[in-house]
């Protein structure tokens, strides 16, 4: 082998902090994603709680309007980019290789890079709280409120640059999962034998790859406006604020499906497992997911029904948006047909999956209401929309994600969670969620606009705002229960065997937690529910029973840990700070780029340690 400069030997840390920093094991990265995203979810939740306390009664003065505007902007940005997306990524990481019978993802170091870059972006964004104030123009950042004339501080710059950094993380992860799913499926696992969660991940990754470039371009334009005095959105020189809205929502609507499709995938795993039946109409559910993703590109202007597009485009976007209800409805009906005739034991994951159907249905119905532009003119930018998005993104995405955490908890940790507390957690969350968000329907129809930091007593909004705030406290309690359950079970839960739910897919064929190499022997897949078919004796010797216990003798060569992914990410974040402060700080940006380049170079020529 030729020798190469910077050829530092690969790290070899089996345990400890360094093992986490240098890990490229998809399972460990999945755990890192999950824990980090959950912490950020709690931060976003506390931001929401503060807003709810401010709005609990009329004319309250708990936070100033300036702070309130930062709170809702950061709440939206955090929940979307730092909580729900990376929580989904946690599942992609942990579950996908196991479900498709692979030993890791296609690009393990790139996977580590995605995580560290995500963490860096999250730190960059949240550091703005302490460096002059967070962004305050809404998560949608409508021009010209984001212009330097309106927003001279650097909160907006932090928002722009951290979204770009997070975009890099998301794109790298999306490419990684597309390549992994296309190339690394076990022999016999054709596309139409892939588990539903793998399918939804695949579709989500494609959406991400197509959607993020749009927001990237829009953010670069905005950055150039703010930093170099260009005029994409500058009203004073004839710039067009509606351009920003089109760019943002061409990204923003597919983004909604990026948030919800993985949740639908999780639910499509939990329901068949606990009903002990295969998913009803597998091909239809897959196709419905693909159609939702495809049509997600044709509906963006329903976010802009009041912008004044004219009656023809408004009518067209009304029809396309209403049409999306059809594949969504198909999914709900197929899930219900899946559990029809089943034999369901109501464990916590199933409760969450059923809760998802119940709540997402409500969000779906209010979604059709918004599709209808003529009546939507009354609801747009009111609390009715706030209710809708939270039924979809909380009742949908978050409830499914929590269900997914319970579902895969034994696989991830090798321990069982506390079932009674898990059920309690569901009911407290279900009640709290409805208490917070259902009254918002009434508030919206009674004319309460979104994003107002206060309201008068005579508006008639006090009662339902009070109820909603009470619900927020209940919802907060449900997450304390969740944290308690997860932490105590992780530490002293009873040991879980490899297949606690009598599962159907390959991840249940190995021990819990899985050995580093996942499968001692790569399975051969003869059936959609490969592991179930094997267990029930429908096919023979496709999936080795106890696919990996971690104890067998093996000579499996696994990719080795690496220092370089985190180095490149650190370089990116330093460059990010330089770009935020611009001017002479471009030197800092150059320094960050240099670190990144060194990291990439060293990464490219990283040697392989001799296998022992």
């Amino acid at each position: 082998m030729t020798t190469v400069p910077f050829a530092i030997p690969r790290p070899t840390h089996p345990t400890g902090v360094w093992s986490w920093i240098t890990t490229i094991d998809h399972k460990k990265i999945g755990v890192l994603y999950g824990v980090t995203a959950f912490v950020l979810f709690i931060i976003g939740g506390l931001e929401a709680l503060l807003m709810r306390i401010q709005l609990a009664g009329p004319n309250q003065d708990i936070v100033s309007p300036e702070v309130f505007n930062q709170l809702f902007t950061m709440h939206g940005t955090t929940m979307i980019f730092l909580a729900v997306m990376p929580l989904s990524a946690a599942f992609f990481n942990f579950v996908i290789p196991l479900q498709i019978g692979a030993r890791d993802v296609a690009f393990p170091r790139l996977n580590a890079f995605s995580y560290w870059t995500f963490l860096g972006g999250a730190i960059l964004l949240n550091s703005s709280w302490f460096l002059g104030g967070a962004t305050n123009a809404g998560w949608f950042g409508y021009a010209p409120l984001t212009s330097t004339a309106q927003n001279p501080g650097n909160g907006i710059d932090f928002w722009i640059i951290s979204l770009q950094v997070l975009g890099v993380a998301s794109l790298a992860a999306a490419f990684n999962f597309i390549v992994t799913i296309v190339n690394m499926r076990a022999p016999g696992m054709s596309f139409m034998r892939m588990p539903l969660f793998t399918w939804m991940t695949f579709i989500t990754a494609i959406l991400l790859v197509l959607a993020f470039p749009v927001i990237t371009v829009a953010l670069i334009e905005l950055y150039f406006d703010r930093t170099f005095g260009m005029n994409f959105f500058n009203v004073a020189t004839g710039g067009d604020p509606v351009l920003w809205q089109h760019l943002f929502w061409v990204f923003g609507h597919p983004e909604v499906y990026i948030l919800i499709l993985p949740a639908m995938g999780i639910v499509s795993e939990i329901l068949p497992t606990f009903a002990k039946k295969p998913l009803f109409g597998y091909s239809t559910v897959v196709l419905a997911g693909a159609i939702i993703a495809f049509m997600g590109w044709m509906v963006w202007s329903h976010h802009m029904f009041t912008v004044g597009l004219g009656p023809i485009p408004t009518a067209v976007f009304t029809l396309t948006t209403m049409a999306i209800a059809v594949p969504t409805g198909i999914k709900i009906f197929n899930w219900m047909a899946t559990i029809w005739g089943g034999s369901m034991e109501y464990k916590a994951p199933l409760l969450f999956a059923l809760g998802f159907i119940a709540l997402f249905t409500i969000g779906g119905i209010s979604g059709i209401m918004h599709a209808m532009a003529s009546s939507d003119a009354q609801q747009q930018d009111t609390y009715f929309i706030v209710a809708h998005i939270h039924y979809v993104l909380f009742g949908g995405a978050i409830v499914a994600v929590v269900g997914g955490i319970y579902y895969w908890f034994p696989k991830i940790t090798g321990r069982m969670y506390n079932e009674a507390i898990g059920k309690l957690n569901f009911w407290v969350m279900f009640v709290g969620m409805n208490l917070v968000f259902f009254p918002m329907h009434f508030l919206g129809l009674d004319g309460m606009p979104r994003r107002i930091y206060t309201y008068d007593a005579n508006m008639g909004w006090s009662l339902w705002n009070g109820v909603s705030t009470l619900g927020a406290l209940v919802l907060g309690l449900s997450f304390l229960i969740f944290i308690y359950n997860i932490v105590t079970s992780w530490r002293n839960g009873e040991a879980a065997d490899g297949d606690p739910w009598d599962g159907r897919t390959l991840e249940w064929s190995m021990s819990s937690p899985p050995p580093e190499y996942n499968f001692a022997e790569i399975p051969t897949v003869y059936d959609r529910d490969a592991w179930w078919a094997e267990k029930r004796g429908q096919v023979h010797h496709g999936v080795p029973v106890g696919g990996g216990s971690g104890e067998e003798e093996h000579s499996i060569h696994m990719p080795q840990p690496s220092y370089w992914p985190i180095v490149v990410s650190i370089g990116l974040v330093i460059a990010g700070f330089g770009l935020v402060y611009h001017g002479t700080y471009f030197a800092v940006a150059a320094f960050g780029v240099l670190i990144g380049m060194i990291g990439v170079y060293a990464w490219s020529f990283e040697p392989v340690n001799d296998p022992e």
């Binding site: 009903a275 009304t318 209401m369």
Partner: protein
């Protein structure tokens, strides 16, 4: 023990009754911005479309959630259950639940599309002699302008309080001078955005007289919550009388303190942003001039609310109570940022931004005395 059927029936009826009760409690037409109290053709159409989809949605809700509860109760695991039948699908059923929503959506789409075109086409355009009004969004107040009935080359300018004749379509041109705002009078119709460099329009009609609330519906910065306005709907005759009164400047003050206030209004720099002449010439070719920096104050003492927020009148009345007005003016001039946080006057006017030029108590009294004469 109740049977499965009874139990699920009980659950379903409980859900339905609960939902209906919540709706009755939840949507209160008497609230000042309720969309259930539709008082004009646009709001009525929107309420109708909403009702169509609401009742469709209610039926879907009851069916889906009812079926879900039924399945949950019926198909629970019982002791000694083996594996259930492994059904993989049923093409006919799937086609059925694909086509059924399509049909329902087509039905719902008809009034929706009709509504979109109703909103877009005023029944009486300015060209056909309909009333025309300019509404201009500012951070964080609304400027309004009517054509001067006495001179087609002039507009009458006022702020935060819109007057409309009852039963007539009013065509509203929507503009913004700074960021995106949204013009919304819930009881008369849905909102339309005021976008800088992208002029919009809408039409509204009020079918009953009285006072109505309006509010900016697009997030527009610090005091978005305080960007509110009021609408006074009156008979055509009183509307005409009001418009004529607006066209004429208020008489000069005679009171010494008020005269002092008038002088101070000029010397303290207020006139830099606030006009006290309500009539404005159109630019060449009838082009409309951009919005002014501060609200036009030529008839500020005739408005029922100060800054669109503080009531200058007793509850339920539609006439100004001078004592309240005086108190509100004093509150506003003493600390405008307390009433409307972030407002541009506090930021840019020397008397607020420069501690050395701060208004003294007696100066505020003089200004209040002057502004009180602008009725």
């Amino acid at each position: 023990m109740l049977s499965v059927k009874q139990r699920s029936r009980q659950l379903v009826s409980f859900t339905v009754i609960g939902a209906m009760l919540a709706l009755v409690l939840g949507c209160t037409p008497s609230n000042p911005q309720s969309t259930f109290d539709a008082l004009g053709p646009i709001a009525e159409m929107q309420l109708f479309v909403f009702n169509v989809i609401f009742w469709i949605g209610a039926v879907v809700f009851v069916l889906v959630e009812g079926a879900l509860v039924y399945i949950i109760v019926k198909f629970r695991r019982r002791l000694g259950d083996g594996d259930p039948v492994q059904t993989h699908g049923n093409t006919r059923m799937e086609i059925a639940w694909t086509i059924a929503p399509v049909i329902i959506l087509i039905i719902a789409a008809v009034p929706t599309i009709q509504g979109i075109f109703l909103m877009a086409n005023s029944p009486l355009t300015p060209a056909q002699g309909g009333l025309e009004l300019d509404a201009i969004g500012h951070q964080w107040w609304f400027e309004f302008r009517y054509p001067n009935p006495n001179d087609p080359n002039q507009q009458i300018v006022f702020a935060n309080e819109l007057h409309m004749p009852v039963g007539e379509p009013v065509n509203i041109n929507l503009r913004s001078v700074d960021v995106i705002h949204s013009f919304w009078i819930p009881k008369m119709g849905g909102k339309v955005d005021m976008v800088p460099n992208n002029d919009n329009g809408m039409w509204l009609q009020a079918n009953s007289q009285g006072e109505f609330y309006g509010q900016c519906a697009e997030f527009c910065g610090v005091s978005h919550a305080n960007m509110r306005f009021k609408v006074i709907v009156e008979s055509r005759d009183s509307f005409n009388a009001w418009l004529q009164a607006q066209a004429v400047p208020a008489p000069d003050p005679i009171d010494a303190l008020a005269l002092q206030g008038k002088e101070l209004f000029r010397s303290a720099g207020c006139t830099g942003c606030h006009a006290t002449n309500s009539v404005m010439n159109l630019a060449e070719g009838g082009r409309r001039l951009p919005g002014r920096v501060g609200p036009n104050l030529s008839h500020v003492a005739s408005r029922l609310y100060l800054a669109g927020l503080l009531p200058n009148k007793d509850e339920g009345s539609l006439t100004v109570n001078d004592a309240l007005l005086q108190q509100n003016l004093k509150t506003w001039l003493s600390d405008p940022d307390d009433v409307k946080p972030g407002n541009i006057m506090t930021r840019d006017a020397k008397v607020y931004s420069d501690p050395d030029s701060k208004l003294e108590e007696r100066e505020i009294d003089a200004l209040v005395a002057y502004l009180l004469t602008l009725n």
